[in-house]
């Protein structure tokens, strides 16, 4: 400590500085509380049900990113509070409130299911809690529901399949059947594909919607066979994707090409086996991306968790990186929300998928890759659309 006598002027200067800092909300929390308080990170993810594996991968990825940078956020220790949202939209507001009002978390990281995300975002938009969506692609989260405090490190549903419309036309498909679960993610992914595909002269023979998360497809496969389209574009994920692709092949429909967003094969490719051969997909990531960042990430993930990383782990990892970067920028001061948000907006994430920045509506501006399953491997054929920006339709708040 400095033992120099303190002059009145120094005190006054100090007070003025403190006053200024206080007025602009820049008092670092550690001074305010005396001892460094823990940062509370609320995690709202599915840990049971169809999407349980996705919730786990996101959690792993996020914690790994934070651990790589010393396990702290802006110098502060972290307390994680997790709720299992069960992918149940009906429980979403309640679960989000548990974190926001009950636990008074500094950040909310969630979730997987688009419907649940909408319920969650309604709550955090109102409370102003900084929210990072590590998967759910609901267009509205960075569209009509956009908000300064809401960020996404994954994708908008629109982004994943918009480029596929062009791909289908280039492949010579004119008449396509689309099929998905009847819920926001599926309908939006199908919608973006249809928008692009029909604008270039393609025709949708039929749109088939099945109840979520039903995995009995036989009736609809028979329907597809009778329609004889040039290709089938579909979205399923997890167990649904595994089963659909196998059923499709077993029904002898492999003669009709299958295309879709990358979720159709990601994480379930091994289980699908031969049935997945030749499936053409678009996504913002591919396991086999040949970049140093991706290779390092995958090796570290595999070593730590004993299984291969997938796109969900990547999105969680990037959510973690976003937290680390922005909290470092404000030195852990969560009360400085405008500065924190500004830091998040400016963040450039060195993602395993390739570097990305955020759009005005806080959605990643990213390349969408074209991938094809060859010999049981997801091969990257190239970039289907570079630096794709979600149109953020209806976003007024930012």
């Amino acid at each position: 400590m400095d033992s120099k006598p303190v002059s009145r002027r120094t005190i006054l200067q100090g007070a003025a500085v403190a006053g200024l800092a206080g007025a602009s909300g820049f008092v670092p929390t550690k001074f305010a509380i005396g001892n460094t308080a823990k940062v509370k990170v609320g995690i709202m993810l599915p840990y049971s049900g169809t999407y349980a594996g996705l919730g786990e991968a996101i959690t792993n990825g996020m914690k790994m990113a934070i651990a790589e940078k010393g396990g702290k956020l802006g110098g502060r220790d972290i307390e994680y509070v997790a709720v299992d949202d069960e992918s149940d939209p009906a429980k979403a507001p309640e679960n989000a409130n548990k974190l926001v009002t009950g636990e008074k978390v500094d950040f909310v990281v969630g979730t997987v299911h688009s419907g649940v995300a909408m319920g969650m975002v309604k709550v955090t938009k109102q409370s102003g809690t900084i929210t990072i969506i590590p998967n759910a692609g609901a267009n509205a989260a960075t569209g009509p529901m956009c908000s300064p405090n809401i960020f996404r490190t994954s994708f908008s549903n629109w982004q994943t399949t918009f480029p596929l419309g062009k791909v289908a036309i280039e492949k010579g498909y004119k008449n396509v059947v689309t099929m998905t679960w009847k819920y926001a993610a599926g309908e939006e992914m199908i919608g973006a594909f249809e928008e692009h595909f029909t604008s270039r002269g393609g025709r949708i023979a039929r749109q088939i919607l099945v109840p979520f998360p039903n995995v009995e497809f036989q009736a609809n496969l028979t329907e597809i066979a009778a329609l004889k389209p040039d290709a089938v574009m579909c979205f399923f994920a997890g167990a649904g994707a595994l089963k659909f692709v196998k059923d499709y092949a077993a029904a002898g429909l492999k003669g009709i090409p299958l295309i879709g967003p990358g979720f159709l094969t990601d994480g379930v490719l091994k289980g699908q086996g031969e049935a997945a051969e030749g499936i053409l997909t678009t996504l913002h990531y591919a396991d086999n991306l040949d970049t140093p960042v991706n290779k390092t990430f995958r090796a570290a993930y595999e070593k730590q968790f004993g299984k291969g990383a997938d796109v969900y782990a990547v999105q969680g990892y990037d959510a973690g990186q976003l937290l680390v970067q922005s909290m470092a920028a404000v030195k852990g001061d969560t009360s400085a929300q405008p500065a924190l948000i500004a830091a998040m907006e400016k963040a450039e994430i060195k993602s395993p998928r390739g570097n990305f920045t955020f759009s005005k509506a806080h959605n990643p501006i990213q390349d969408i890759y074209l991938r094809e399953v060859k010999n049981g491997q997801e091969m990257v054929l190239g970039v289907a659309q570079k630096g794709l920006i979600d149109p953020a339709r209806g976003c007024m708040a930012v």
């Binding site: 840990y47 049971s48 049900g49 169809t50 349980a52 594996g53 919730g55 786990e56 009847k182 088939i208 919607l209 099945v210 109840p211 998360p213 039903n214 995995v215 009995e216 036989q218 009736a219 609809n220 496969l221 028979t222 329907e223 066979a225 009778a226 004889k228 997890g238 167990a239 595994l242 089963k243 196998k246 059923d247 077993a250 029904a251 002898g252 429909l253 003669g255 009709i256 994480g267 379930v268 091994k270 289980g271 699908q272 086996g273 299984k307």
Partner: protein, 286 residues
């Protein structure tokens, strides 16, 4: 839309219905004969699927996995009946619902601890891994027909055991008058334990046999449970014959609902249930 199309869809519906019957038959046995509302029934379905997956990995043979997963489900069922359910026979249905709902949570958590949250595929035996052509571009997987055959055999077997054997007679008697059967020197406790075990084994068998076509994933029992209750209610509580017809009806309703009224596909099953209950409030064979 031609005749062929309808016939194939009818085949899809019957095939789905038969599988539903296999799961629901165990539920109707436990529900009808023992008066126990077993919400954990779907968990036995999941248990069967996961043990089949796990044993198929260990033994390399699906048949061995099927044969071995049956006694596992039966044993777990028997254990649960003796240790937990038995205490609740004289209690309100609501207590049973509470217990068996709790069991769902326990089963789901146990599944996560033992097998993790990943989605798994179960390899089909090579002999059955082919499809026969139905139309110029549609084939039918032979394994689905095998499932149907097994379900049909089980249905016949159940009917025979319940209607024609001494054990079946005890079961029927135990259901209608417990004290009297006990007075005749039959061990009703053991009898009910066995019925519960058989019910669990049937659900386990359904899960195991469906695993190669349905894939194995967390929460797979929950979705099947609701349909099972629909089947049991339509068929009339406790009636195996009713469960059979109810299951086929639901299978057809679900299949044609998807094709003919796709916008209301998720309601078609419940619309059929409502219609049946309006006509016969206690189910088809109550």
């Amino acid at each position: 839309m031609d005749v062929w199309f309808f016939l194939i869809q009818a085949l899809n519906g019957v095939q789905y219905g038969l599988l539903l019957f296999l799961v629901a038959s165990g539920l109707t046995l436990i529900f009808g004969i023992m008066g126990i509302i077993n919400l954990a029934h779907g968990s036995f379905y999941m248990l069967g699927a996961y043990t089949a997956y796990w044993l198929a990995l260990k033994t390399g043979s699906l048949l061995a996995a099927l044969v071995l997963s049956l006694p596992i489900a039966a044993l777990v069922g028997f254990g649960i009946e003796t240790l937990l359910v038995r205490a609740l026979y004289k209690r309100d249905h609501l207590d049973q619902v509470l217990l068996t709902y709790g069991l769902i949570l326990v089963f789901n958590e146990a599944q996560k601890l033992i097998w993790g949250s990943d989605v798994h595929a179960v390899a089909m035996p090579a002999v059955l891994n082919w499809s026969f052509p139905l139309t110029d571009n549609l084939s039918y997987p032979i394994y689905r027909l095998v499932i149907s055959a097994v379900c049909a055999v089980v249905a016949l077997g159940m009917w025979w055991v319940i209607a024609k054997t001494r054990f079946g007679m005890w079961v029927r008697a135990g259901a209608s008058n417990r004290e009297m059967v006990q007075a005749l020197g039959i061990n009703v406790k053991l009898l009910f334990g066995l019925v519960f075990a058989i019910g669990a084994a049937l659900a386990g068998l359904a899960g195991a046999i469906a695993a190669p076509v349905s894939s194995v994933y967390p929460g797979m029992g929950d979705s099947v449970l609701i349909l099972c209750f629909v089947v049991v209610v339509i068929g009339g509580v406790g009636s195996v014959k009713g469960a059979f017809l109810g299951a086929i009806l639901i299978g057809l309703a679900d299949t044609f609902g998807r094709v003919l009224v796709p916008d209301f596909a998720s309601f078609s099953v419940y619309a059929v249930m409502a219609a049946v209950l309006l006509w016969k409030p206690k189910g088809l064979f109550a």
